[in-house]
């Protein structure tokens, strides 16, 4: 049976088919689960509620089986509350969570103590106090220490509650909460909730809940505040020209960075929560009125359909929403630069930011976008094109150099100048291995240096470079294990792979080059040609959120002057055709107003003299 599964996987890999049973994306014309279809149109909150409605059954059966091993069985437990105390069991907790806030403060407190396993749970704080001087109305606040801003709680929640209420007359019980929300508490985000579920969700993410006696509702004040990394410099996408700001791990900072870059009221930040146990916040940002609505719909549909325990990083989310999980080339663009994300939003793409990850996901993406850097647009066109050509060369070098070397030295010795073949042969004279073994050995060593360089603790990081370059290169040659020309081949290949701007695609090409080397060793140039053909076929068959990966070249669609090379910025009049945005025009045909008088004749006749280049 296991063998059959393997077969199935292999078949799917080869035939580019997704297993229908598991995930069905619209791209394959597979029917979605009926509930997913509904979800697409429902709001996120509706969906959340529904998930919880169906949950108790599951947990019921679970707890019946193993009432004491609940923490271990947590995988199937779809509820927010994880902690279980020894006395209460799961059903009870679920029941509590679904309860409404009680009028009796003592009941509320007891319920919360149960839910949060107090007093075992030490960072949950319940602070009790009195409000309204004339009577002695009891109240308490609930918050989690460490993820709340103490100053805000003290100054904006506790202080007004204890001081200001003292001055006013007692109001009717039913209106106390409304009254406090409207007149007492300073907090800038205050909500009234009456189910524990809602309250707990907010409290778990830095909110402060205020419970007042004889009130069947509770106030939740936004008091988030924890230690966070400040906005730093980009680590993987550095530029010389351009902003040196990067996303950090806080969702709100990241959305703010994008807001700051795009000052437009049409920019929408939709928030979702995924991960049943963790409830990670996910922001989907796009420019309404520009982006294709069905793209947003598809993004939301995929995100909402994810049914898993924990999605903690953009990389995990990427794997859940991408079209072709087994293909070499990534279908989601990852960036840590707000300026880059902003430029994609303005192109009509959708940016997905996940709390706790300093990377934004951009969908859909094309192969060519993966090969660009933000600096390409900040530099003047001639410089940018120079760099881009360099990069294109680097791709081919990174994929094929070892393969070409093997093919030439074992199959096609007649293809290179006599002097070179004599030099190669002379250098190989003392090498005891066949070329292919030699190449694989050195390539493997290089990859090891690279991997070790990433994993090694910073202190001894520098040694890796020295060890790699000196010991492996120099010594291997002196020992006659590899030929010096091969060192050049491996070094150039390695260097070229570093020149590929996207981390994922650089990974892809690093892997692909081993396949090319093997093909070259078996079939020579024919193998390389066949490999290129297969790689291209695979890439043409791929899509990213409905957009073919190789557009606008395969399939050929209308394209601005920005594919491999780019034209001047003023010639990029239209947004990418494949995005099918609501507003196609980026700028009018004559975007440089000051050249208009010079071109008066052309401008009037509607010609576009500037597009020539």
């Amino acid at each position: 049976m296991a063998g059959d599964k393997m077969w199935k996987k292999a078949v799917n890999l080869l035939t580019f088919r997704e297993i229908k049973k598991r995930e069905g994306f619209i791209l394959y014309g597979v029917d979605d689960r009926t509930e997913n279809k509904k979800e697409a149109t429902e709001t996120a909150t509706d969906q959340r509620k529904r998930i919880h409605k169906k949950k108790p059954e599951k947990s019921h059966s679970n707890s019946n089986k193993k009432p004491n091993g609940i923490n271990k069985e947590s995988k199937n437990d779809q509820d927010i509350t994880v902690n279980k105390n020894t006395t209460g069991n799961k059903e009870e907790n679920n029941g509590l969570k679904n309860l409404l806030v009680d009028r009796d403060l003592a009941v509320n407190k007891a319920n919360l103590e149960k839910i949060y396993s107090l007093p075992k749970n030490k960072d949950i704080v319940i602070r009790e106090f009195m409000i309204f001087s004339d009577s002695s109305t009891k109240a308490f606040v609930l918050f989690i220490d460490g993820i709340c801003d103490r100053k805000t709680i003290n100054e904006n929640v506790l202080k007004p509650l204890m001081l200001l209420t003292g001055r006013s007359k007692e109001v009717h019980n039913a209106n106390i909460i409304e009254y406090i929300k409207e007149r007492i508490i300073y907090g800038n985000q205050v909500d009234i909730h009456n189910t524990y579920e809602d309250v707990i969700e907010k409290v778990n993410y830095g909110g402060t809940a205020v419970f007042v006696d004889k009130c069947s509702a509770c106030l939740v004040v936004e008091t988030k505040g924890w230690d966070r990394r400040p906005i730093g410099r980009p680590e993987t996408e550095q530029v010389i020209r351009g902003p040196h700001e990067a996303f950090n791990e806080t969702l709100r900072s990241n959305t703010a960075l994008l807001r700051k870059a795009i000052r437009n009221e049409n920019m929408i930040t939709e928030m979702f929560k995924i991960g049943v146990r963790n409830r990670t916040d996910i922001a989907v940002m796009y420019l309404e009125g520009l982006v294709n609505p069905s793209l947003v719909e598809e993004v939301k549909r995929r995100i909402n359909s994810i049914d898993t325990d924990y999605v903690g990083e953009s990389g995990i989310l990427e794997q859940f929403i991408e079209d072709h999980p087994f293909m070499a080339v990534p279908q989601v663009l990852v960036t840590e630069r707000p300026d880059r994300a902003a430029s994609f939003i303005l192109d009509g793409k959708v940016v997905i930011i996940i709390d706790g990850s300093p990377n934004a996901l951009i969908v859909p993406t094309t192969f060519f976008a993966l090969m660009h850097t933000p600096e390409d647009y900040y530099l003047r066109a001639p410089y940018a094109n120079f760099v881009r050509l360099l990069r294109v060369t680097a791709i081919f070098i990174a994929i094929m150099t070892p393969g070409l070397y093997v093919a030439v030295t074992t199959f096609h010795q007649e293809m290179i100048p006599t002097d070179l073949i004599l030099a190669i042969s002379a250098a190989r004279e003392t090498v005891p291995f066949p070329t292919i073994v030699e190449v694989f050995m050195m390539e493997f060593a290089f990859e090891m240096i690279r991997e070790a360089g990433v994993r090694v603790p910073g202190v001894i990081g520098n040694t890796i470079g020295i060890v790699g370059a000196l010991i492996l290169g120099q010594a291997a040659v002196s020992a006659g294990i590899v030929s010096p020309i091969l060192i050049i081949v491996v070094a150039v290949t390695g260097l070229a792979s570093f020149a590929i701007p996207n981390y994922s695609i650089s990974f892809a090409f690093r892997g692909v080059r081993f396949i090319f080397t093997a093909l070259a060793a078996t079939f020579g140039f024919f193998g390389i040609t066949a490999g290129l053909y297969i790689l291209l076929t695979m890439m043409t068959s791929m899509k990213s959120f409905g957009v073919p990966l190789l557009s606008p070249i395969g399939p050929r669609t209308k394209a601005g002057p920005d594919i491999v090379l780019r034209g001047p910025l003023w010639s990029m009049e239209e947004r990418p055709d494949f995005l099918d945005t609501l507003d196609r025009k980026r700028q009018p045909k004559i975007s440089r107003g000051w050249v208009k008088p010079l071109m008066g004749k052309f401008a009037e006749s509607g010609d576009k003299p500037e597009q020539d280049s």
């Binding site: 059959d4 077969w7 199935k8 292999a10 078949v11 799917n12 080869l14 035939t15 030295t409 074992t410 199959f411 010795q413 007649e414 006599t418 002097d419 073949i421 004599l422 030099a423 190669i424 042969s425 002379a426 250098a427 190989r428 004279e429 003392t430 090498v431 066949p434 070329t435 120099q474 040659v477 002196s478 006659g480 010096p484 020309i485 060793a521 078996t522 079939f523 020579g524």
Partner: protein, 428 residues
């Protein structure tokens, strides 16, 4: 069974991929160091067997961290009935798999060439190891002797050396590049005959003193065959001149001087520095003129009373390099006079060469026949006409157009007082 049916397509696909690897294997692969690279090959008449083949093989040296290239070359001489027969026999004593994929030159002795190249050239154009752009040389002596004496001093291997020497075609003019392909097509063509570059060993012997005037000496300045150049030092190999074929048989040689004029008519002449006798004082002074091809020559062919008439017009450009006499040839009428003089001189030399090929060799090496083709309606008619047989009877006129474009770094010659004779007025 059910599962097999379901995934049958995938299994077959995967099996196909695996079999694809199995069926090919790496049999075509040869490691670079398993191969012995033949850089040049010589073909002589054999004593024991039909042919006496000489292979010049690169010796690899170094290894380890020194990329020292090759130490030199080694000569293997084998007697066999055919070229590849010799290659097979070489395996009896050569440790490496000898291959011709990097062979740069084939040297053929005159003995073989006189008997006819036709039977050997097929090997060279059909074998997949030999490139058609391999140089083919004819040597007046033994090919083995040429390879033995070829010790390039400035380059590391003869392959590179020959490539560089043949590159001199662009600035010397008396070293035409003749590849196996060109010779083969010329031999096949009913409109032209083949030529091959000449190579030979220069033993550095004292040449006999000729009793010639300056004008004659100038005329024959480069008129040498390989081995005749009066020189000392350097590599012992001369590459100068052409071997003229009629059909596939060698009929004679053109010396360096004739080769230059031959190239002019062919249009393959690029540029060369010529020495001419001074038009006014031919027995005293020389002129050094760099002559370039201005345009491709215009060759017209027509038939008058069934006699082919060929008109050759050359378009040349000249740059004065030196005027030893100090006569001010650059200005006005003088320049025109010089141009006319040079035109006449070149026309005369070419006419001489043409009549030599017509009368002595009876071989249309210029390919004039190709131009007569348009006078025939069908290929068959043209072939039946037998141009090559009629070439000696053709009337060929040569017309040279030469323009002096540059006068070097000087625009005005100042005559040295010593050269002036009795207040002779030179500048008009």
């Amino acid at each position: 069974m059910h599962m097999l049916k379901k995934t049958g397509r995938g299994k077959i696909l995967l099996l196909c991929c695996i079999f694809l690897f199995l069926t090919t294997g790496c049999w075509g692969a040869r490691e670079t160091d398993e191969l012995g690279y033949i850089l040049a090959m010589g073909i002589d008449k054999g004593k024991e067997s039909e042919l006496h083949i000489t292979f010049q093989i690169a010796i690899l040296g170094g290894g380890g961290d020194k990329i020292s290239g090759e130490k030199g070359t080694e000569l293997y001489t084998i007697e066999a009935a055919s070229v590849f027969g010799a290659l097979q026999l070489a395996n009896a004593f050569a440790s490496k798999n000898l291959t011709l994929i990097h062979n740069r030159a084939v040297v053929v002795s005159d003995e073989i060439a006189k008997e006819g190249l036709g039977e050997y050239i097929n090997t060279f154009i059909r074998s997949r190891e030999i490139r058609r752009n391999t140089f083919l040389f004819v040597t007046p002596g033994q090919a083995a002797n040429v390879l033995k004496n070829n010790k390039p001093l400035l380059e590391s291997n003869p392959s590179r050396q020959l490539e560089l020497i043949m590159g001199a075609e662009n600035f010397a003019g008396f070293i035409p590049t003749t590849s196996i392909h060109e010779i083969n097509t010329a031999m096949k063509s009913p409109g032209r005959e083949a030529v091959a570059a000449l190579i030979g060993v220069n033993e550095g012997k004292e040449t006999e003193k000729k009793d010639q005037g300056l004008e004659e000496k100038i005329r024959e300045e480069v008129a040498y065959l390989p081995g005749q150049i009066p020189r000392q030092g350097g590599n012992k190999i001369d590459i100068i001149g052409l071997a003229v074929f009629k059909g596939d048989k060698l009929v004679g040689y053109l010396d360096g001087s004739q080769t230059r004029y031959y190239q002019m008519v062919k249009g393959s002449f690029n540029s060369a520095i010529f020495t001419f006798p001074d038009p006014r004082k031919p027995e005293e002074f020389v002129l050094e003129i760099k002559i370039k091809k201005g345009r491709n020559p215009a060759i017209k062919a027509k038939f008058v009373d069934n006699i082919p008439q060929i008109e050759v017009s050359l378009f040349l450009e000249a740059e004065i390099i030196s005027i030893a006499s100090g006569i001010d040839y650059e200005t006005g009428k003088m320049e025109h006079e010089l141009e006319q003089y040079l035109e006449r001189y070149i026309t005369a030399e070419i006419s001489k060469l043409v009549s030599k090929t017509q009368e002595e060799y009876q071989s249309d090496i210029f390919g004039f026949g190709e131009y007569t083709r348009k006078n025939f309606l069908t290929w068959q008619k043209w072939q039946d006409y037998d141009w090559l047989g009629k070439y000696p009877d053709a009337q060929i006129s040569v017309n040279t157009n030469l323009a002096i474009r540059r006068t070097g770094l000087m625009s005005n010659t100042t005559e040295l007082p010593a050269n002036k004779k009795e207040g002779e007025k030179v500048n008009e």
